[in-house]
Symmetry: C2
Subunit: 435 residues, 2 copies
């Protein structure tokens, strides 16, 4: 892990110290995805079968998972895992229901009622990757809020294994959280199928979920096409920033850094501390724990680009974090909650020694689909609101029009929009009022 | 206006009847905008001056509006218009404050606190077009929620006239609603400047506002670049769908259709009614009113592509509306509010005879920056939430970790993420618990 003393750096060096590996959209990737999307749009299911054979090395007969497959998956799954999935779903549901938007109504003038009503997005498409390992937790995080929002049709795509089946835990989770249909599709072709529809796959209004570079590029392309689909957010490799003080437990800090590093070789891991001693101890502890991990080789690659940053104070540590805008921020300091007010940009925050990031990945109740790559400066994680439309409504009675009609007419005149003005004046005249 | 009998149409004809003019991203437009963005990134302010001379035909000295210009604009403005701007701002503020997200906190298990906190997006960039006429109302709609959200730096770009000045009403509005800095920039170059920054223009985290095809393409390009900026939503030409019954006042209905049609030749105007007689009367009334309008020639072009759709019932009218997903939906029927529950996709709804769309454009209190082109199927209009990040927070005490640690460990094991599991078990072991 690279050691950095923040206060010896120039401004340019600080920017470099917090830089993520470039995510520039390579032309080759862009063209490859364009081609996949065009093929799926032109050839539908036939293209999906051919692309699944080429990329997922599986021969798909039916593209959609059928009831027998769901039942077999459930029967094979360990009872303990099923119980954990149900338990996690319940807590995710509890928090997401509490945080769901509510209808609003106010009178902004006498006779002028203005409201906001909520409607589910009709058809949503969820993407659950299954790269190095299947991710039932992502099915939880995407499916629970879709169910709370009341989306009429919830579709999920996840790549099949070479044997032509999806992961048991993903299938069980999909059924548990109310997903309506599951398709054995991965990669850019899954995104194309949900965005434009095929004979088997319904066309969805909005797509959700993480994925590799191909999936991310496909999501960007379909969201930029007026005839495509909306997306939750762009996605990049996962990342964590830990702020720890001299009293932090180095075993805990090292375990948290490693739980991020094991995601993939491109994961980002940063530790910021005012204590040189803590940085030293954690570095040694990371090496020790890493050697014991089954995915230690992956973690080592991520750690090679990760950083230990020494700062002057916890206040400065929070400044560094805000500048980086991490997906996950862990505060392992005395009085951790006191730092929270200063946190401006982060996907999700983990407060205190007893809150490892992994509880948020699975079952504290918050969502784990979060903005990466500095998108936390402007994006929020997935929530029930992501699956809803907020529609404004206004209703005026004659007194309301008398009250705000003149203001409307004045502003319309200033914008030289005479028909806008007349839509008010013809009504006021019908009420016997002339402006 | 084209007359259509919905129940004589095939499914394909229905789709065609509701089709918008294609908004496909033309390659020439895409390349033109790519070049403008590249020029602004490479040459900064110098590029902005050159592009403003070329496209806005003005010689910019300072790019930023200075205090003397703000003062002169305020001095020149009619007192009645200033009062209307202030009055509109107050109602917009009242509704947007009522609809703003609130912090949330729940315990999802004993010792497990999960919260959502709100933070303003630090730097936001607002775009206010000034094509055929300046649009101070857009400055209101973008500036008020930015102020409520508490964004630290609110930047606004609006093109200068040939005399090198921005519109007086736009400048006065910007100051009234708390915009911090205004730049005399329009088109794709304004979007590029705010997304990447120049010597004069600060780099913004998220960009807001409507614009022409160049502005929209530039917003799409910067939002697809990981080093660019987020955007509020894609934008297309403005549109209205009116549902009216036999008792609706044809003078009001015609005025509402025309207030949309006068926006531009590409505006979309649709009237849906179960009453053939009403469709006839409104068509005649539209012709009569249109002849009196200063922008009648523009409205006529929009009306040439607009539609009068006859349906069997009001229920079917709402189905047609949901399929179209209009930016603005006007309900001019007896018991208009009864139709509201059936409305699934619309930007903003105007209920009853006394609620012309123009009150929402200016001062009922709702926002007029709304999803067009069918985006109302998945997007919502601008609100305070658009200017905020919702950050989730979790804090466990030892009992909380004992409560949800086992579930976390089980799910981590299922995903073969051993380091995720150990981040829990090292802590439980420190508490004397072994899984």
């Amino acid at each position: 892990m690279k050691r950095i003393d923040w206060n010896t750096l120039t401004e340019a060096e600080r920017t470099a110290a917090l830089a993520r590996p470039a995510q520039a959209r390579a032309d080759s990737l862009r063209r490859g995805v364009e081609q996949i999307i065009a093929t799926v749009r032109a050839e539908g299911d036939a293209a999906l079968r051919e692309l699944s054979a080429r990329y997922d090395h599986c021969a798909l007969d039916a593209i959609e998972v059928n009831d027998a497959e769901f039942a077999a998956a459930e029967a094979r799954l360990a009872p303990e895992l099923k119980a954990a999935i149900r338990e996690a779903a319940a807590r995710i549901e509890a928090f997401h229901r509490a945080a769901a938007p509510q209808p609003v109504g106010v009178n902004t003038a006498v006779g002028v009622r203005v409201e906001r009503v909520l409607r589910p997005i009709h058809r949503v498409g969820l993407y659950v990757p299954a790269g190095t390992a299947p991710l039932p937790s992502t099915a939880l995080m995407l499916g629970v809020p879709a169910h709370i929002a009341g989306c009429r049709e919830v579709v999920l795509c996840s790549p099949a294994r070479a044997d032509g089946h999806c992961d048991d835990a993903v299938l069980f989770t999909a059924r548990t959280v109310g997903v309506h249909r599951v398709f054995k599709l991965g990669g850019a072709q899954a995104i194309a199928a949900m965005a434009y529809g095929t004979e088997s796959v319904p066309r969805c209004d909005k797509l959700f979920g993480p994925g590799n570079a191909w999936v991310t590029e496909a999501k960007l392309q379909v969201s930029g096409d007026p005839d495509g689909a909306a997306i939750d957010m762009p996605a990049g490799p996962s990342e964590v920033l830990v702020i720890a003080d001299a009293d932090a437990n180095p075993v805990f800090v090292a375990a948290d850094l490693l739980s991020q590093a094991e995601h993939g070789p491109d994961s980002q891991v940063i530790l910021v501390s005012p204590s040189a001693a803590l940085l030293d101890t954690v570095a040694a502890e990371v090496d020790r724990q890493c050697a014991e991990l089954p995915r230690g080789a992956i973690a080592e690659q991520a750690l090679a680009q990760s950083r230990l940053i020494q700062v002057q104070s916890l206040t400065q540590a929070v400044q560094v974090s805000n500048r980086y805008a991490p997906e996950h921020l862990i505060l392992q300091v005395n009085g951790a909650r006191d730092l929270l007010d200063g946190v401006e940009s982060a996907g999700s925050v983990f407060v205190g020694a007893w809150t490892p990031e992994s509880v948020g990945d699975y079952c504290s109740g918050s969502n784990h689909v979060l903005p990466t790559y500095g998108y936390a400066r402007s994006y929020s994680g997935v929530s029930v609101a992501s699956y809803q439309k907020q529609i404004t409504v206004q209703e005026l009675d004659p007194n309301g029009l008398r009250a705000i009609g003149p203001c409307t007419a004045t502003l319309a005149a200033a914008e030289q929009l005479e028909a806008h003005r007349r839509a008010v004046t013809v009504r006021l005249e019908a009420l016997g009022t002339r402006l």
